[in-house]
């Protein structure tokens, strides 16, 4: 598609359940980022994929969070045993091959609510 696509757009789950959030980046974009946006917390970096390099997982808040990127394209963010504090909007963004073009293109986000 023309832009970054995320699904689901809204997810309501019960505490303790696992959730998977999907990101389909712009075709040909080699870099993919996941961020979490909580009220009053701004954009919190979670994980960064760049081509075939090992991902930068330094932003993942706990070992309940994991992400993978298959075939250098689609990415899935998995949250296991969800907690209420995981409620947030999860944003995915992608960027083209050349670092200095800089611009990230964001998806609409997946709003997660943990009851």
């Amino acid at each position: 598609g023309a832009g970054v696509s995320q699904s689901p757009s809204n997810k309501v789950t019960e505490k303790g359940k696992d959730v998977e959030l999907r990101c389909d980046p712009i075709s040909g974009h080699t870099a993919l980022y996941w961020y979490r946006q909580s009220l009053g917390q701004g954009l919190e970096f979670l994980i960064y994929f760049q081509g075939n390099s090992a991902p930068d997982k330094s932003g993942l808040p706990s070992d309940r969070f994991s992400a993978e990127r298959t075939g250098g394209s689609v990415s899935t963010l998995t949250i296991q045993r969800t907690q209420q504090e995981d409620s947030a909007v999860y944003l995915c963004a992608s960027r083209g091959r050349i670092l200095n073009t800089g611009e990230l293109f964001f998806g609409e986000g997946s709003r997660l609510t943990v009851l």
Binding site: Y35, G42, F45, A93, L104, F106, G109
Partner: protein, 110 residues
């Protein structure tokens, strides 16, 4: 890793007032700096960016930002705000990866 600090959490202005939003970063290497904007109910979009050259960068909708290397700053400015500028503004820096500040919510009263 690099970090970004935005000084103002919520700014409230009347239309036609001047705007300056502060942004400071820390990173030891060459940085590329950005301002993104998120209008209510919309996704994040690029407002302006700095890579090199003229430290005064002009973006869309009359916004500009000045890169001051000695102060590690990249403040966003607009001489006269409009009600439609009501949004959340994020400063960002690319070093090893891309990090964002906590954001500044701007409310412009008509």
């Amino acid at each position: 890793a690099q970090s970004v600090s935005q000084h103002n959490h919520h700014v409230i202005l009347s239309e036609a007032a001047s705007l300056e939003l502060g942004c400071n970063y820390s990173y030891g290497g060459t940085v590329n700096l950005f301002w993104y904007v998120q209008y209510p109910g919309q996704h994040l979009q690029l407002l302006l960016k700095y890579f090199s050259g003229d430290p005064l960068v002009k973006g869309i909708k009359g916004f500009e930002a000045e890169f001051i290397k000695s102060k590690f700053s990249f403040n966003l400015r607009k001489p006269s705000v409009q009600w439609s500028d009501t949004a959340e503004y994020f400063c960002a820096v690319i070093g090893h990866d891309m990090r964002f500040g906590a954001g500044t919510r701007l409310t412009v009263k008509p």
